[in-house]
């Protein structure tokens, strides 16, 4: 094996970062672009079904639209509190960074709870991934609806856990485990929350692995890239809300 002398001062050694941004930010942007295509494919699949089926169900009454509008308000407000958290982190204000992130998490949890209630109502009306009570000829309505909104809700849940880790670090783990136990044991077996609670457990295990294997003090850069992820979750909902809910409103009386 020949020894290779690596000359110092080559162009590649101190190559400027891509787009002048730090690598974690570029990594998050690239992940978000790939996730955009995932959600894009799901939204296009939903829209394909919507266009090709004139009997597409319109199950969303006034209550559902009000509920979804409040959910939208929660996500928009969470984006505001998140960006205020990023500004506080840039100032080096730890206390307000944590407070703004906790506000963001509060709005995120409110979104999940309201969405879970909406799912529970639809399931109680007889909607499943393979059938729905409103149109027997459009069996894929439930499948596309649950896949699209479920994927988004999973992203929101991961986002809340991500923010909790950034804001509270290891102190967040016992809170997560208490939330998991409360959601699992405190809800009926047929509830959406009973099954969905296990996402919290998986999140807690992954968060614990990350924090114990690579413990660190999250800095302003970490808060900013956590914010990028959170705003993306908000952004996706800006398309799901009109396409799924507003285009399927049922106006009575």
């Amino acid at each position: 094996m020949s020894d290779m002398a690596v000359p110092h001062g080559m162009a590649g050694e101190f190559e400027p970062s891509l787009f002048g941004a730090y690598s974690k930010k570029i990594g998050m942007w690239l992940f978000l672009l790939s996730d955009t295509l995932t959600f894009g494919a799901l939204l296009f699949a939903y829209s394909y079904g919507r266009i090709s089926n004139p009997d597409w169900p319109t199950p969303f009454h006034k209550e559902s639209i009000i509920n979804a509008t409040i959910m939208t308000g929660c996500l928009l407000s969470s984006s505001l509190t998140m960006v205020l958290g990023v500004l506080a982190a840039r100032r080096g204000d730890r206390s307000w960074t944590r407070n703004w992130i906790l506000f963001t998490m509060f709005f995120g949890v409110a979104f999940i709870v309201l969405h879970g209630m909406e799912w529970t109502k639809l399931i109680a009306e007889g909607m499943t991934p393979s059938k729905n009570p409103w149109s027997s000829t459009v069996q894929q309505f439930g499948g596309t609806f649950f896949t699209l909104t479920g994927m988004h809700m999973m992203h929101v849940t991961i986002g809340v856990i991500y923010l909790g880790v950034v804001a509270l670090r290891k102190k967040f783990l016992p809170i997560l485990l208490i939330c998991w136990l409360a959601a699992w044991l405190g809800t009926p077996a047929d509830s959406v929350f009973h099954v969905g609670a296990h996402v919290i457990l998986i999140g807690a295990i992954v968060a614990a692995m990350i924090m114990f294997l690579k413990p660190k003090d999250y800095d302003a850069h970490d808060v900013e890239i956590a914010g990028l992820y959170w705003h993306f979750v908000d952004l996706v909902w800006m398309f799901i809300f009109p396409l799924v809910y507003l285009m399927s409103t049922r106006i009575t009386g």
Binding site: F19, W29, K62, I65, G73, S77, D219, E224, T249
Partner: protein, 103 residues
């Protein structure tokens, strides 16, 4: 916690304005849909235009892409826009099914 150098105006006020604009646009969407102002195809177009405006506000201000260098804006947005536009090719088949049925 480390502080980060910023190269742009950090006024909080602009973020409240963007948040307010997003809420107003959302109210407009709900109003249009609930009052069924347009026929379905025009309604879809109107809602998508409003959604794209809302997305631009979120990406530009909240995600700070507005403050990144031009190359980053163009590479990121052009790539994802082209990919999403390519998916539209499937809609021709969806319209075919409506007019001709499944064959």
């Amino acid at each position: 916690m480390h502080t980060v150098d910023t190269h742009h105006d950090e006024g909080k006020g602009q973020y409240f304005w963007v948040w307010g604009a997003l809420l107003v646009l959302t109210a407009a969407e709900v109003g249009l849909a609930y009052n069924q102002v347009f026929q379905p195809v025009q309604m879809l177009e109107a809602l998508m235009i409003l959604s794209v405006i809302k997305s631009a506000l979120i990406i530009g201000w909240f995600m700070h892409l507005k403050y990144e260098i031009a190359a980053m804006k163009w590479v990121m947005m052009t790539a994802v826009t082209i990919c999403l536009c390519l998916m539209c090719v499937f809609f021709a088949d969806a319209f075919r099914i409506v007019h001709l049925g499944v064959k």
